[in-house]
């Protein structure tokens, strides 16, 4: 869970959560799989259908500004996205990524290469680009790693509640 391997997929420019998933779909559907075909449909039509299981999204500017909809994260996850790396994030989108169990890593992305392998080591605080270049980032706090390991915030909170009920 603290190491992620995938393929770099760039999404360039400032990206809003409206770009990721237009609002009306979250009013129509609750299953992320139903929203997934509409990801980026206004801004980058066809992009969503090219994503593959294990892809790592690479942003170039602020990623995930605007609406609080976590459906922006869950619909990307439904398309196979397993991590997002960007120089900056919209703060609610950033939270939503970790809360749903995928890491959002703030790091300079100018050296990543489209379609090439990416390895993220969260506890070590570094990314390996195309199996040869390293770039470091501050390792996320233990508390956030724990959320990932639990498969998201809700599982974490429910586990903690169960533990305190059982007096553990």
């Amino acid at each position: 869970m603290t190491e992620i391997r995938g393929k770099a997929r760039f999404v360039r420019g400032q990206i809003s959560t409206d770009d990721i998933i237009p609002a009306r779909y979250k009013h129509m559907y609750t299953d992320p799989a139903d929203m997934a075909p509409h990801v980026f449909e206004n801004r980058f039509p066809e992009l969503a259908s090219s994503f593959e299981e294990g892809d790592v999204l690479i942003g170039t500017d602020v990623f995930g500004i605007g609406s609080s909809r976590e459906q922006a994260v869950s619909s990307l996850m439904a398309l196979g996205i397993r991590a997002i790396v960007s120089p900056r994030f919209g703060r609610i989108f950033f939270r939503n990524c970790w809360n749903l169990g995928i890491p959002a890593i703030e790091v300079d992305t100018s050296r990543f290469i489209e379609g090439r392998p990416v390895r993220l080591d969260l506890t070590g605080g570094y990314a390996i680009i195309d199996e040869n270049q390293g770039i470091s980032f501050p390792p996320p706090p233990q508390r956030m790693i724990r959320i990932l390991e639990n498969g998201g915030l809700l599982n974490t909170v429910l586990n903690e509640a169960a533990h305190s009920r059982n007096g553990i």
Binding site: A23, H27, N99, R143
Partner: protein
């Protein structure tokens, strides 16, 4: 004098047992939670998936139905029904469709008490900063976790003080100033931060104006914002501190600033009104949690009084709440608007997100008073959306095009 303790740190400290310093991750107790109708159906799904059937303090939670007041299709109608049933199971407060926008209701109902921590499942929850509440927009998983545990996790933000000085053009409204700041500084100075608005301009804002400014905090990229308390309010102990840390203070001089508009497709893409004067428009919308309060409706009605909306313009006005609707009716404002040819819809978010009508047509040039104009925002990626104050929007509706500053005066 030492650096003043930022308001956000004082509020977090009162809600946490952890050490509060910027950058620290802390747990805080939550005072209030509200959920809007685009997220309550997903919340219900999460609860059912995880087998959760009750919450810690239902009396602190409210469900608001504001984005799809008039359900535009069967899928949305079905989701709203699920959400309403779920709210009943939980025993939380439920607002009716047409009661208004969650953030406007939150202000009217007093959910944003100074010094409280309020979570809303909508990014514009930051509007509560007008009432010195640490009001945070969050996704539904965060909301679900807070409903179960009574707490949430926060990274204590750094604070930046935004000192606005000078006197702009008399027809500049709060919206113009926020757009101007976004256009000139972008999000970078505010991203993740707590923004304390200080200085004479912020202090002189009306209650409606302060709420409008606070609602745009998310457009600035801020974690939260705080406006000074309005005169006569008793929350002066929680006023942004007017002795800021100079290194973290941004001073913006708005002397001589003219009205502005945001161009498609970003609220940070800002031009002076004179740069777009004469550009024709198809659709004008006055509403949203940024500009749907009585002051906004009044300004539009004054502009339209005894006149007619341009025949080529579709004009829609959506009051922010039922209370605003009733005040506007009592003052005769709704009659003025409808006689001029504007369509007045039930209170709520109106066409802001395209989760109800009217959706603009492909190729339409739209002028809206809402807070963001990302591509596809109103439900059609082929429309071009501009943003402005209600004053500029109402004048444009009459002319069928953006006015010059001279025409705006008239």
């Amino acid at each position: 004098m030492s650096t003043p303790e930022p308001l956000v740190e004082r509020i977090i400290d009162q809600h946490s047992d952890d050490a509060v310093t910027p950058g620290a991750l802390v747990s805080v107790r939550v005072d209030r939670i509200y959920v809007q109708d685009g997220n309550s159906p997903t919340l219900a799904r999460l609860f059912h998936k995880h087998g959760i059937s009750s919450i810690r303090e239902p009396e602190k939670v409210a469900f608001v139905f504001d984005h799809s007041v008039l359900a535009p299709n069967a899928a949305i109608a079905d989701r709203m029904k699920e959400a309403a049933g779920f709210a009943k199971e939980l025993g939380v407060q439920v607002m009716r469709r047409g009661d208004g926008i969650s953030h406007v209701i939150a202000q009217e109902e007093g959910w944003f008490q100074p010094g409280t921590i309020v979570l809303g499942s909508d990014s514009h929850t930051c509007a509560g900063g007008a009432n010195q509440s640490l009001a945070l927009g969050m996704g539904v998983t965060d909301i679900a976790a807070a409903m179960i545990s009574g707490e949430t996790w926060l990274k204590v933000p750094e604070t930046v003080w935004l000192n606005v000085v000078g006197t702009p053009h008399p027809l500049v409204r709060p919206k113009d100033v926020v757009l101007h700041i976004l256009g000139t500084l972008g999000q970078a100075p505010f991203l993740y931060k707590s923004v304390e608005w200080i200085g004479p301009w912020a202090a002189a804002l009306t209650e409606d104006g302060a709420a409008s400014v606070a609602s745009m905090g998310v457009e600035m990229g801020a974690k939260c914002v705080f406006l000074p308390p309005r005169r006569g309010r008793s929350s002066s102990v929680l006023s942004p501190v007017f002795a800021p840390d100079e290194a973290n203070t941004i001073t913006v001089d708005i002397t001589g600033l003219d009205p502005v508009v945001a161009l498609p497709h970003s609220p940070s893409q800002v031009a002076s009104l004179s740069d777009v004067a004469g550009l024709s428009l198809d659709y004008v919308f006055i509403g949203s949690c940024t500009n749907s309060r009585l002051e906004d409706i009044e300004e539009a009605a004054r502009m339209l009084d005894g006149k007619a909306v341009h025949p080529d313009v579709h004009m829609v006005v959506t009051p922010g709440s039922q209370r605003i609707m009733e005040d506007a009716l009592r003052l005769g404002l709704i009659g003025i608007l409808t006689r001029a040819g504007a369509l007045v819809t039930p209170a709520g978010c109106g066409p802001c997100v395209g989760a109800q009508g009217p959706v603009p047509a492909s190729g339409d040039r739209v002028l809206s008073t809402m807070n963001r104009n990302f591509k596809g925002r109103m439900g059609n990626g082929q429309a071009e959306i501009f943003l402005s104050s209600p004053l500029v929007a109402a004048s444009s509706a009459l002319l069928g095009r953006f006015p010059s500053i001279e025409e705006l005066k008239a």
